[in-house]
């Protein structure tokens, strides 16, 4: 396993574009901290975002994993190109001739995917911890380390998304087309969902129940949007006479759905590679 990771690391470390994208990704995560400095005047009242409780424990785990997940596209580009470049440089052929098995090839890519997700999670944990300790109103130990399931959800979500990217890279073999396909897939999912929601199953939650099994939808459900959970939004809504009653939790069956997709994507990648003549 270490040998496979070492091989992938060797391939990535000399690639300038991969290094730049990975660095950008991690730097941008730290830029979440910059939100704290957003200040503006609102009808004569000084308004500081950091004071609105977004960096309060344990809410910060939810908020940061949601925001950081948006940046996953940077790593997605790295993953798609590290897979499809093996096709365009025809190095996959040489790798196999040199004695890497097809199983090992897929496994080495998947290990890289998992380690990207893992290091993102660790990094996010550290950044959030520092941010929280400097801005949170509550710093009791038990509060700091509650709601950590958002980080687990974040990890699974990234792994799932990257596994999808890896599969697309192998399926399409060209990085630009693979990313395009990802976008098309996202549109298709939205259309399918829309059709079900507004045409087929009006006034019931069947559409939602089906859509939660879609790959991208299931990943996005893992960490739901955190904004409507903020006090300020909640109170504004109450004043307007409406009430948000949304479930922000992370559920085991949602994790399970995404994990099933991960297994499917890895298996399909292997299946494709095995069947293909290079």
């Amino acid at each position: 396993m270490l040998r496979l990771l070492n091989i992938e690391y060797h391939k990535l470390r000399y690639s300038k574009s991969s290094k730049v994208l990975i660095a950008t990704y991690f730097i941008l995560i730290t830029f979440i901290a910059l939100i704290a400095s957003i200040e503006f005047k609102f009808g004569g009242v000084q308004f500081r975002v950091a004071d609105q409780g977004i960096f309060n424990f344990p809410y910060i785990w939810h908020f940061n994993s949601y925001i950081a997940a948006i940046l996953k596209l940077f790593l997605a580009i790295v993953i798609v190109s590290m897979v499809s470049n093996e096709y365009s440089n025809r190095t996959i052929k040489q790798n196999l001739i040199d004695g890497l098995s097809k199983k090992e090839f897929i496994f080495s890519k998947f290990l890289t995917v998992v380690s990207f997700a893992f290091f993102s999670t660790i990094f996010l944990f550290v950044v959030s911890l520092i941010l929280g300790l400097s801005f949170s109103d509550y710093t009791e130990f038990s509060i700091i380390f509650s709601d950590l399931e958002y980080l687990l959800a974040y990890f699974i979500k990234l792994t799932g998304f990257f596994a999808f990217c890896m599969f697309l890279g192998i399926l399409v073999k060209r990085s630009a087309f693979a990313l395009g396909f990802l976008f098309v897939w996202w549109i298709l999912e939205s259309i399918a969902r829309g059709v079900m929601e507004y045409k087929l199953f009006r006034d019931s939650n069947i559409a939602e129940n089906i859509a939660q099994f879609f790959p991208l939808e299931s990943m996005s459900l893992l960490v739901k949007e955190p904004f409507s959970r903020l006090n300020i939004i909640q109170s504004a809504a109450t004043q307007l006479g409406s009430e948000f009653s949304k479930d922000y939790g992370v559920y085991w069956y949602q994790l399970l759905i995404v994990m099933a997709w991960i297994a499917i994507f890895v298996y399909l990648s292997y299946f494709l590679l095995k069947k293909r003549d290079l």
């Binding site: 091989i7 060797h10 000399y14 440089n89 001739i97 040199d98 004695g99 098995s101 003549d277």
Partner: protein, 300 residues
């Protein structure tokens, strides 16, 4: 004998096209093999199958004694097929280091092999800056990193300029002299003739011949003769039981043997009959002539 590779009834179909048909042969240790065949005859497909990048349709193959999986066996093989494939953004040395990691061998030999293929002074240049000849030489160096039991080269001189071809041939000859088993696929006959001891000839995916180069044809060679009295010479040749076909082309008379005959014996025979020759040469068919003979025979 030590068998390195054995193919049994290997078949590969691409849709309706049969690229390799029921192919069987084996590669023994220490020999230099040439796979000969015109373009599109299934040479590269055959190599692709045994190298784990093309899936076979039926039949099987066995590396070494057959106890290892193909990808484990390939760690003891050095192979390049078609064009050299490396990571363009890495230097020569970095690319070779990666190959070492895949093959699970120590990177100590990188400099030695780069030196062998004459690229030591360019070891820190990026692969993408290399010329085709340099890329091909790097590929050979890379294939040699594990001191392989067998070196497989598919059209190693394709697309190279005369100097490049010469350099690659020199390297191959040097490697062959070290006793490494080599399997060389090519459509260039003189290339195979220069280095190979054994040949496998395939056409349209079918094996026409496999065995030592000099036993390819049951031919005894031919004489090229010249004499002042051509008519008498022709008559004498037709009367001699050892000769079959006799062809006259300009001043030279070519007489093909149907049984062994030494030049001395022929000279004595003609002299005794009162004919003196101005030229007497005994030759064997070149690989090219044999190859054409064989492919024509089979197509009739």
């Amino acid at each position: 004998m030590n068998t390195i590779l054995r193919l049994n009834n290997l078949t590969k179909k691409f849709g309706p096209v049969t690229a390799v048909k029921d192919l069987s042969f084996s590669i023994e240790k220490g020999n230099v093999y040439g796979i000969l065949g015109p373009n599109g005859s299934g040479k590269s497909t055959t190599l692709g199958i045994v190298l784990n990048v093309v899936n076979k349709t039926s039949g099987d193959f066995q590396w070494f004694d057959g106890t290892q999986s193909t990808h484990e066996a390939l760690k003891k093989v050095g192979a390049i097929i078609e064009r050299p494939n490396f990571y363009p953004y890495m230097t020569a040395a970095q690319n070779l280091k990666l190959v070492c990691k895949i093959k699970n061998v120590s990177p100590d030999k990188i400099d030695e092999k780069l030196d062998l293929v004459g690229l030591l002074d360019r070891k820190d240049s990026k692969f993408r800056t290399f010329s085709l000849g340099m890329k091909q030489r790097l590929a050979i160096g890379s294939a040699l990193l594990n001191d392989p039991e067998i070196l497989i080269l598919d059209e190693p001189t394709n697309g190279l300029d005369p100097q490049g071809i010469h350099q690659i041939r020199e390297i191959i000859t040097r490697i062959a002299a070290d006793g490494t088993t080599i399997l060389l696929a090519s459509h260039l006959l003189d290339e195979v003739e220069k280095v190979c001891t054994h040949v496998v000839i395939i056409r349209k995916g079918e094996k026409l011949y496999s065995g030592p180069v000099d036993q390819m044809n049951a031919s005894f060679g031919f004489f090229e003769l010249k004499a002042a009295n051509e008519e008498k010479l022709l008559a004498l040749l037709h009367a001699h039981p050892a000769f079959g076909k006799v062809i006259q082309k300009g001043e030279i008379i070519t007489a093909f043997l149907e049984e062994p005959l030494e030049p001395e014996a022929l000279n004595t025979y003609l002299f005794e009959k009162g004919l003196t020759l101005s030229q007497l040469v005994k030759r064997k068919e070149s690989l090219e002539e044999q190859f054409l003979l064989l492919t024509n025979e089979m197509s009739v």
